[in-house]
């Protein structure tokens, strides 16, 4: 324990100017019980980045995102979104949870799910107007699901479910997109559609953060990498960080040398 940095020490530094940083995390520790799932993590997501959070199973990747968003409680740490506390910046964030986290037999149609992305505009009581529906349909069209608006969500394939979730995030018209394993268990066509949409978001100057598990596609899809294994291992541009040495550090013995050689940059 002695050589470990104290949680939140860096976050306490008052001089840091983070107003241009879409997401800054300082000294974040999350614990289920007494065993930290994420320990004293610092993360800075540069504007316009397409960043992959990678690390072995149980490294705390999803936990990091959820705690940053305040969806689960954190033990310590500071999180700012464009330099402000997250509570005041919800409008600028869109979060796509893991597909498996919801019950797809829930009685709702595809378009109703996408309309949830307009919740902040609709408020508690506002009526859903034609303009809202048109907006939702346009988001569905962007993920190639325009023909499915009136389907019950239980009738969708896994890939289609993921696209509906992405459409809901698009409806939020956010500046910072946080996605938890958007490519997990989806078909090739869906993966392509999602990548196209995410790259379009980046081209519009928005920032994208994905928890990602497929090391083989990291260099194709992402500009930045954040290597996590309970603690931050390394972070930075793909070319710099996605190296054999760093992957070895993050994954330990869990990847064979050959695997790492094949996927690491350069």
């Amino acid at each position: 324990m002695t050589q470990l940095k104290l949680a939140a020490q860096e976050g306490a530094a008052p001089v840091e100017d983070l107003s241009d940083i879409p997401l800054a995390i300082r000294g974040l520790t999350v614990s289920y019980g007494s065993d930290p799932a994420v320990f004293s993590v610092d993360m800075t997501v540069p504007e316009g980045a397409m960043l992959a959070v990678i690390g072995p199973n149980g490294a705390g990747k999803s936990t990091l995102l959820k705690a940053a968003l305040g969806v689960i409680p954190k033990l310590s740490g500071l999180v700012t979104v464009y330099g402000q506390p997250i509570a005041s910046q919800r409008r600028r964030i869109a979060y796509v949870p893991q597909r498996a986290s919801v019950d797809w037999d829930f009685p709702t149609r595809v378009i109703d799910v996408v309309l949830m992305g307009l919740y902040r505009d609709l408020g508690l009581l506002g009526r859903v107007r034609r303009s809202h529906r048109d907006q939702a349909r346009a988001c569905l069209a962007r993920v190639g699901m325009e023909g499915f608006a009136d389907r019950q969500i239980g009738q969708l394939s896994g890939g289609q479910q993921q696209r509906v979730f992405l459409a809901r995030a698009l409806a939020q018209a956010a500046d910072l997109y946080l996605l938890d394993e958007p490519f997990a268990g989806v078909d090739a066509a869906t993966e392509k559609a999602i990548v196209t949409v995410l790259k379009a978001l980046r081209d519009e100057g928005r920032t994208v953060v994905c928890v990602h598990h497929d090391l083989a596609t990291v260099t194709d899809y992402f500009s930045h990498v954040f290597l996590l294994n309970r603690r931050k291992i390394a972070a930075g541009p793909v070319a710099k960080v996605f190296t054999q040495q760093m992957l070895q550090a993050a994954y330990g013995g869990r990847l064979s040398g050959g695997q790492i050689d094949r996927i690491a940059a350069s």
Binding site: G70, V71, Y95, P97, V102, F106, T108, R109, L124, Q152
Partner: protein, 393 residues
């Protein structure tokens, strides 16, 4: 059929409004998969009812005032609800175990207090047992009014919170990410359930109020795939159950009201489960049988086309009934034609699925869908030009 007096009509209207509120509120509980918490809430009301009675009597009051008893029951139900929440969050107990603990302890305490009341020198027949199973006997006009107004208030609150409750029920993580405090949303929902329970105590009774919260939404779920409609239908079912049950119970004063209302709700549930289109048991059975028959027919036709014998009795029977084979198993003219068509269809599919870049169309293959419904005539012609003569590979 019933000659209802003014008071009895009022009771029916009150019970109907209560059922409406219970059905709508229960929908959110059901969608959040927290149905059993309502059981803990309702059983936790009993010590409150008893204590409220004791307090009112010891201050020289009547002890049977509905408002006083409702206030007491609300307080102890809230204590029970908080206890369930605390046990789940702060100890290793899962929610189901916490519900079991709270429900039994509160109910046991309530029964003990009722026994104490029976022995009280006041000696009045308090009629508190009526709160166990519900009773319309001796109900005052103001009681019915209180119940009706309470139900209406709950309905208004649910309407106000519905969007937040639906988002939280469907995707709590997303709800959290857009700034909904899901803990508070759940608390609000439980508060509404508590209100329904307290309001319904007199008519339905605390043991069975959970049924009035849960039966309407599960019945409604068979009729709709949209949360909003499920809530409305559940409200309708609850309202009808409440009103009809109360009328039946008034017509035979010896009957406890709660069980009658619940039985009416159950009858509606059973009908929905059996006969609802698409999701009902009968519809599902018909769908399954028709699917099975199509599979058998298709397999039979493919066997015929390739000169293989058809062994399965069901397949033979279906082919025979469709006039595709004769009694001795030999294909009729129509049978030969359809068999050839099935085989060609299968071969086209086989080619399509073996080819690259046909993903979306090839994914539609289920062994039954004719390829004409997926591809255009031009596309099929192009496939045919590539097919080698002969049977299936």
């Amino acid at each position: 059929m019933f000659d209802l007096g003014y008071n009895a009509s009022l009771v029916a209207i009150g019970a109907g409004l209560l059922g409406l509120a219970a059905g709508v509120t229960g929908t959110f509980l059901f969608l959040r998969k927290r149905a059993l918490v309502s059981d803990a809430i309702s059983h936790s009301t009993l010590p409150g009812v008893a204590l409220a009675f004791i307090v009112m009597v010891s201050f020289g009051g009547d002890g049977r005032s509905l408002v006083g008893l409702m206030a007491g029951s609300a307080l102890s139900a809230a204590a029970g609800l908080l206890a369930v929440g605390w046990l789940t969050r702060r100890t290793r107990l899962a929610e189901d175990a916490a519900i079991g603990v709270v429900l039994s302890v509160f109910f046991g305490l309530g029964i003990v207090l009722l026994t104490v009341i029976q022995a009280m020198s006041a000696g009045r027949q308090a009629g508190l047992e009526g709160y166990l199973l519900g009773s319309t006997a001796g109900m005052l006009r103001t009681d019915a009014l209180i119940i009706a107004v309470g139900g209406a208030l709950v309905l208004a609150l649910v309407a106000l919170l519905r969007r937040m409750l639906i988002v939280t029920a469907f995707d709590p993580e997303f709800a959290g990410s857009i700034g909904i405090d899901t803990g508070r949303a759940d608390l609000a929902m439980m508060g509404l359930v508590l209100a329904v329970t307290v309001v319904g105590l007199k008519i339905v009774g605390l043991i069975l109020i959970v049924a009035l919260l849960i039966l309407p939404p599960v019945a409604a779920r068979f009729w709709s795939d949209r949360a909003g409609s499920v809530a409305l239908i559940a409200g309708g079912i609850g309202g009808v159950s409440g009103a009809v049950g109360a009328m039946l119970s008034v017509s035979a004063p010896a009957l406890p009201t709660g069980p009658i209302i619940v039985l009416v709700a159950f009858a509606i549930f059973a009908m929905s489960m059996l006969f609802a289109p698409r999701r009902g048991v009968v519809a599902a059975l018909i769908r399954h049988l028709s699917f099975r028959n199509r599979v058998h027919l298709r397999q039979g036709l493919l066997a015929l086309a390739q000169g293989q014998p058809v062994y399965e009795a069901l397949t033979r029977r279906l082919l025979r009934r469709a006039g595709l084979i004769r009694a001795d198993g030999v294909a009729t003219g129509a049978g030969t034609a359809q068999a050839a068509k099935a085989l060609l269809d299968e071969r086209r599919w086989q080619w399509l699925r073996a080819s690259e870049g046909t993903g979306a169309a090839a994914a539609r293959y289920d062994g039954l869908t004719p390829i004409e419904t997926v591809l255009t005539a031009d596309q099929i012609a192009r496939i045919d030009s590539q097919l080698r003569p002969g049977g299936l590979v």
